[in-house]
Amino acid sequence: MNLYTPHPVRVAEVIDETVDTRTLRLEFKDPAFAESFDFKAGQFGEYSVFGAGECTFCIASPPTRRGYIECSFKKVGKVTNAMRELEVGDTMGFRGPYGNHFPLDRMEGDNLLFIAGGIGLAPVRCVIWNALDLRDKFRDVTIVYGARSVGDLVYRRELEEWAGRDDVKLWQTVDPGGETPDWKGEVGFVPSVVEKAEPKAENTYAIICGPPIMIKFTLPVLIKLGFTKDRIFTTLENRMKCGLGKCGRCNIGPVYVCKDGPVFTAAQLEDLPPEF
Amino acid sequence: MQELVDLTSKLLQNGDVNVVIGYEEGPRGVRPVVAATPDDCRRLIFDHRAVHNLATYLSPRRKHLRVRGRAAVVLKGCDAAAVATLLRERQLKRDDVVLIGVRCGGVYRTTTAEGALSADNVADRCGGCALREPTLVDHLVGDLPPEPPTAGQRAARIAALEELSPAERFDYWRRSLADCVRCNACRAVCPLCVCERCVADKTDPQWIESSPHLRGNFSWHMARALHLAGRCVDCGECQRACPAGIPLTVINGKVGQVMGARFGFRPTDDPDAPAPIGTFDPDDSQEFIR
C-alpha cells in the first residue's frame, strides 16, 4: 500500500463536547498495528471519512493511553460534516502520526503552565494527560483555560477532574457575558486571567494554544512574567492535504507546518514571515 | 497612441481615477498594465496585439485590484460588451469605473503575432464585428480602422462537427476534453465568471468532481458552457488561457449561435438590453418541453 493509505479505525465512542464540537474515540481495526502504534504529544494525523475525504487534526488523546486515539473537531466543512454523522461502530481511516512534538522529555523536572482557549484545548489536553500520567516527572502543573461561554467549554468532565485534583492548579474562565448564574470560575479574557494566576516563570515551560487573538495578547503577559520565548510552545495549524511535506500548501515561508511543526516555540514564531 | 496617453494622464492628474488599466508593450508581446501615474500612462498602447479582455479586471473577484481605488479601463467593443453584462447583472456600478473605448480594427489571435491582419491570424470573433465603435464609454479614442478580415476556422469547425453523428461528435469531445487538467484558467480569465464561490469549488454537496478525468471534465465544461449561455461575449480569453489547447470557443460559439437563433441574443454593449436568462417571453420556443 502506498503512503497515502490510511489504517482503518473503528469509532469506539462519540462524545459531544459542546453544541458544535465533538470528540471521537477511535480504535485501530488491525490489532497488530494497534499494538505497535506509538506517537508523541503534539503530533497530528490525517483522519478520513471514506467518501468525504481527509482532514487534519492533532491527536487529542495522550500517548500514555494506549489502544485508541481521539480527535476533537468542529463542523466546518465536508469532512467534519461527515464525521458528525458517524456513530459508534462506524469505520474511518487514519494515517499518521506526522510532524514534530512537544519536547516533554526536556521539560521533566520543571513546572508546566498550560494555556488554552476554546477548542485549542485539544492539543494541550494531550500534553496535560501525558504529563499527569507521568506525574512524578514534573513539578507544578497549572492550567488556564478559557472559552467564549460556559457552553463552549470542551472536555467538561476532565475539567472537573483536574479541578478536583490537588496536584493541578486549574483556572477556568469565560468571556464577559458568557457566564451562567452558577458559574464558579473566572469571568474575563485568558490574558488577564494568566496575569491574575501569576505563574512563576522560573523553571517553567508554557504550552499555549487557542485563537490567534488570544495568543497575540497572552504572549506579552508571559514575557512580562519573565518567560523566555524559547520556553513558550504552541502548535500551529494550516491547511494540509498530505501531511508529508509534498502537497505544498502548509508552508509559512520556508517552514513546513507538517514537517517542521506543528509545534513551535514563540521564538521560532517570531522568525516566521507574517503569513499564517 | 498619444490621444490615449493624454486622456489617461489627465484622468489621473484630475483625480478622476486612481489607476488606469490598459495595454503596454511587455517584454514578449502586448500585455495588460495597471498605470498609476501620468508617467506610467506613457507606456499605454493599443494595436492588433491588444487581445486581452481587460473587463476581466473589473470583476468583483479581483480584490488585489479593487484596493487600488477607482479605475479607468481601456476597452474594445467586445470588451465593452462584457462590461455591459457585468452592469446588467449588478456586478459593477457604472459610476465606479471610467470606460475608455477604443475604435477597433480587429485583433490577432495571439499577443505576439506580427504583420498585416489576415484571415490566418485574426481572432475568430472579429469578422463582421458590430461593436467596433463601443457606445458604452465615457471616452472614445482613435480613428476607425478598416474592417478586419474574417477568420473562417472556427465556423468551419462548428459546421464540420454538426455534420458528424452524435457518436462521432461525442468522440471528438472525449478526445478534446481528455487533455483538460482542470487548472481552471478558463474560469479565472473569464470576465463573466464572477461567482465568489464557483459551483465547481463547492464540495458539500459536490456537484462537479474536481478530478480531471472524463466525468469531471465533461461536468465542468458543460456547467461552464451553460452558465455562460446568453452571457458570453465571445472574447475568447478562455481558449487563449487554456494550457491544453481545448477549443473552448467552439463550445462558446455554438452556444452563441443557439442563443441567437432561439432568443435573438447577440453580445451587445448596451447594459439595458434584456438578458435571455432573466427575461420571460411567452413566445419563447418551448418545444424542448415534452
Binding site: 500500500m1 502506498n2 503512503l3 497515502y4 493509505t5 482503518p8 481495526k29 478520513s48 471514506f50 467518501g51 475525504g53 466546518v76 466543512g77 467534519t80 462506524d90 469505520t91 481511516g93 495549524e237 494550516n238 491547511r239 492535504k241 498530505c242 508529508l244 511535506g245 509534498k246 502537497c247 505544498g248 500548501r249 515561508g253 520556508p254 514571515p273 507574517p274 499564517f276 | 511587455g26 517584454p27 514578449r28 495588460p32 495597471v34 486581452h52 480584490k63 488585489h64 489571435r109 495571439t110 476556422q153 478526445r175 487538467v181 482542470r182 487548472c183 481552471n184 484558467a185 479565472a188 480569465v189 468532481e209 474536481s210 478530478s211 480531471p212 488561457a241 494550457p243 489547447g245 477549443p247
Partner: protein, 362 residues
Amino acid sequence: MSNEQKYLSESEFDALVRELIASGKRVVAPVAAEDDLEPQADYRAVSDPAKIVLDGPLPRRSLKEFFLPATEALLRWRLKKGDVALDETEADYPETVVVGASPCDAAALPTVDRVMDWDYRDEPWFGRREATVVISRACPGRDSSCFCPVVGLAPDSTRGADVMLYPSGEDAGGYLVEVITERGAALVAAHSKHFQAPREPAGVARLREEARARVDGNSSARPDEIRRWLDKNFEHELWDRLAERCHGCGACAAVCPTCHCFDIVDEPEGGDSGTRRRNWDTCQAAVFTLHGSGHNPRETQNARFRQRVLHKFAIYPERFGEILCTGCGRCVRACPGGMDLPEILEELGRLATSSQSAGGTP
C-alpha cells in the same frame, strides 16, 4: 564528454522506436498537436515513429504528467457492514521510454525527486520514475522566453537524461548518442543493432554552440543573489504590486515541469465504494490555502504569486539545494496576463544588487 558514445541514423531511429513499441514498451514522444490553430506539440504515447516530431516546438505541457498524472487513483474503498476494504490501486507502472525529451523537462525529474523522497517516499512517483528511461534530445534554443542558463542549465544539459541525442546537423539527419546513465546503457545494449560505432558529425558542436548562443543573452539574473534578497524581503513594496495583471489562473503551474503541488479528494462511485484520488493543484488558486474557518493565510493574488517565486527560488533551494525551475519558459508563454518570470527575476536581481551596493548585509 567521457561517456560512451554511439551514432544513430535517422532510419535506425525509426527502427529503434518500432522495436521499443513492439517489445511492449510505452513510447512517449513529442507529436504535433492534432487540434489547434497554432503549430503546437504535445508529449503523447505514440504507436508510430512517423508521428514523432523531434524538431518541432517545445511541447505545450512538460513531461510531468507521465510521472505525476493530472489525476491518479491512490486507493479504492469498499464499505461493507461496518467495515472497510481498501484496495490498492494497480501499482503496475508501464515500462516507458521517453524519446526526444526536452532537456528542461528531463532536468526537472531529479529536482522533483527530492521532495518526493523527503523522509517519506512517494511510491507512485518513484514507481513511474523507475519504469521510465529518458532519451533527451539537445534543444535548439527556442525563443526569448527560454532562461535555462539562469538556473544553471543549458539547451544541451544532460541532467535527468539516461541517453542524450545530439542532432548531427547533416542533411541526412541522424544523431550523436551519448549514454549518460546505467539505465541508458542497458537500453542501448538491449537494442545495440540500431546503434553504430561512435563518430562525431561536424555539425554537432556548431548546433550546440548556436543553441547556447540563442538563449544565453535572454537574462542575466543571478539566482544566488536573488535568493539572498528573497530571504530578507518577504515584505517589500515589490510584492504589493507584482501580480496585478495575474489572473491567478494557474496555467503556469499546469505547464510547469517542476510544479508538483497536489490535492487529495474522495470520489464516491455508488453508495458504498469509491476512489481516493490525487489531482494537480496550484498555489495560485485562492482555495489552495483556505482554512475551514474562512481564514486564508494567502488572501491576495500578490501573496500567492510571492509564494510561487519564493517556493522556486528560495524555499526549495534552502530545503533541497536545488532551484525549483528549469528555465523552460512555459509559464511565460502560457500566461494569459503577461506575467513574465525572467523579467521578474531580472527585477529581483536589480533589487538584490542595489540593496548590496546600498550597504545591505550580503
